[in-house]
Symmetry: C2
Subunit: 229 residues, 2 copies
């Protein structure tokens, strides 16, 4: 029995939801407003990060840690689709890209976009809420271009992000880009190979739950749910 403490605007949370979906694992989901730093949550995860997964009440903390755990515990079952490449070097490439998406893209882009456009609308002014800082947004949007160019290059030179087969690198990239796409931050027409790859990802059954995400007061852009965007 799995439970996931998550938030729809955190790429790491989305990554684990996609992996659970690909494995066909039923789980319970709880949205955790991590910026409130609730005591019972901090007792479980003093780093105050998302996601936190519970497997029969045992906490597994952090997206990459959840990915490795799910692969070890569920991926070895005969019924599970293969999300880790067979070859150790390709697994290393997959892990490099997961870190790229969930750490580098997070630190250089997502953190700012999500804080300025989402979290500042959810928290009271006394806790840092208010209108977005246009300078922070501008810096993050400058960084987006580099990341989209790089991801577009990967999508244009490989079948899937880490190589010939679908892997957790694709789930991590789709998780991250889907947060930006919800908020209308991606100009798909400038990145044809990436768009074609994202259309494939978006049409996977595991992706449906992400496309159903809605933030109160912040609806997604119209093409967010469109499979033919």
């Amino acid at each position: 029995m799995y439970t996931l403490f998550h938030h729809p605007m955190y790429a790491g949370s989305r990554m684990v939801r996609l992996m659970l979906g690909e494995y066909g694992i039923e789980a319970q989901f709880h949205e955790e407003p991590v910026w409130e730093r609730r005591e019972p949550f901090l007792d479980v995860n003093p780093a105050a990060t998302l996601p936190v997964m519970a497997h029969f009440e045992n906490p597994i903390i952090g997206a990459q840690v959840c990915v490795e755990y799910l692969e070890e515990v569920e991926g070895s079952k005969g019924s599970a689709p293969r999300l880790f490449p067979e070859d150790a070097l390709t697994r290393a490439e997959m892990r490099r890209l997961i870190d790229w998406m969930l750490l580098k893209l997070e630190t250089e882009v997502l953190r700012y976009i999500v804080r300025e456009r989402v979290i500042k609308r959810l928290v009271p002014e006394s806790q840092g809420g208010g209108p977005p800082d246009s300078q922070a947004l501008r810096a993050a949007r400058t960084n987006i271009r580099y990341h989209l160019d790089y991801t577009d290059w990967l999508a244009g030179t490989r079948n899937w992000m880490a190589g010939d087969t679908l892997s957790c690198a694709d789930l991590a990239a789709a998780a991250s880009l889907s947060v930006l796409d919800y908020l209308g931050e991606i100009r798909w027409e400038d990145h044809a190979a990436l768009k074609e790859w994202y259309a494939r990802m978006k049409s996977r059954p595991a992706f449906r739950a992400l496309l159903a995400d809605r933030l109160r007061g912040i609806p997604p852009v119209s093409h967010y749910v469109d499979l033919d965007f």
Copy 2:
């Protein structure tokens, strides 16, 4: 045949050196001045981070990625000592702590201490060199206390960082703390359990190479090499 591109003041580099040492793997080592952003290095690792390991010329990028690769490729050999716990939940705890040491402690403490005290002395003023920013140092030193208290608590309640047996979590913690210790940033007398654990780590044969590290113009504090500090 392994080659490691590393720097003695980067905890992730030290972590991989310790793991190679524990496995008894002979490797070639190259110090990479990553702040110079050398083109041939960026071609291999566009994220411009250390370490980068090469296994027969195949690059494996990032400390955690190297750890998983070495465990998969070398850890499965009968002769290798076990550095991953047997139980999946304890492996998750190990990975949580590796991320804590190599990402959280890095972001909140090491990055600032190393930049202000080491890198600013190594690069010309035109590239950001110069005297340390005392405000940045003060902020990092405030954060050290919290991390040492937490690590001391772990050392006091468990045999080893992640549980009953030595694991890569211990290597990650020792790698990170050894950078701070080189620079004299740790008051061991305030953290008895951590000190006792660090003495055990320091006396391991794999640690010797780290204790031999010397930065030009920045010698370690006198107790750095002392096994009975």
